[in-house]
Symmetry: C2
Subunit: 182 residues, 2 copies
């Protein structure tokens, strides 16, 4: 129930091997061979970069939406879900200057972010981390896990979101695809 800090540690070795990394918008991150997902804030001098974020309370879903999603959402760590995507995002000042009702209207009523996400359940497991209030370079870090054969569906999912009104407020986005190393 309490907010949980996670760190995504990019470096030479790690539990997840990078298959490819694309800077979808804005500056790229330094290229790394692997990523570790670590609880807390490790002091790892060997890392090329560390992205931090907090798993925290829900910001946009209504109770009805949450009930629907929760019933269909798989857990992280499924043995067969050997593929992952790490997608850090920074939104624009214009996004954060909006009030809650305005942000919700863009996110769901105009962009159907929550509904579109629901279409890819139970194939794709997802965990959202918040970095903005920590002073991190990315506002959000989303971690996804799925089976290799579900990657075309995952590609379709992120392509639909990137065409949405909400994505006009995304000023930096990196899409890192991984495969479990161990």
């Amino acid at each position: 129930m309490n907010p949980t800090l996670s760190s995504f540690v990019g470096g030479d070795r790690g539990d997840w091997t990078v298959r490819r990394a694309v800077a979808v918008s804005g500056d790229a991150l330094a290229a790394v061979a692997a990523v570790d997902v670590v609880a807390g804030a490790p002091d790892d001098g060997r890392a090329r970069w560390v992205l931090r974020g907090v798993v925290s309370h829900d910001r946009y879903v209504t109770r009805a939406e949450k009930t629907l999603l929760a019933a269909r959402s798989p857990p992280l760590g499924r043995p067969e879900a050997t593929y992952a995507a790490l997608i850090p995002i920074k939104k624009s000042d214009a996004w954060w200057a909006m009030t809650q009702d305005e942000r919700r209207a863009v996110l769901e009523e105009r962009s159907r972010h929550i509904a579109i996400g629901g279409e890819y359940l139970p194939a794709i497991a997802r965990r959202l981390h918040h970095g903005r209030d920590l002073g991190e370079p990315f506002d959000f870090i989303t971690w996804f896990e799925y089976r290799p054969e579900d990657e075309p569906a995952f590609d379709e999912f992120v392509a639909r979101l990137r065409r949405s009104d909400e994505w006009r407020f995304v000023e930096r986005e990196i899409d890192i695809r991984l495969v479990r190393t161990t």
Copy 2:
């Protein structure tokens, strides 16, 4: 526009002298003579305690409410506003388990938190800091500034909130009243 970290440093000396401190709910804080309000995260070994929070984007107000409040809200630092209140609050797990629509319904439709606050403008200046995602002991730290003659109105304001449905979710609250030292 970016989130701004503030620290409230309790100790022997500071810009704001403590007039009184009351643990309204839950455990008290250690008694201090004064509080400093400092940008960033100072490493102050002489402090009895340091509370940290981030001024961040709006979470509950609608655009209509924000427009109304912004037109009437005074800035911090008015020379005549020599009294202040520092009110750190921790809400319960039950609060954070609610979805946004449920929290908003308790906060405003049932408790009229935003509307009640508006009644005390422009007398009372306010700045809200978020601590929960930082792993701080308090979810919120609110800082208020007002003229000494407005303290009865301020007392009425906090008493009304403490009688509201929303306050059933408050499990720890400290009310520290201060006067500008310098």
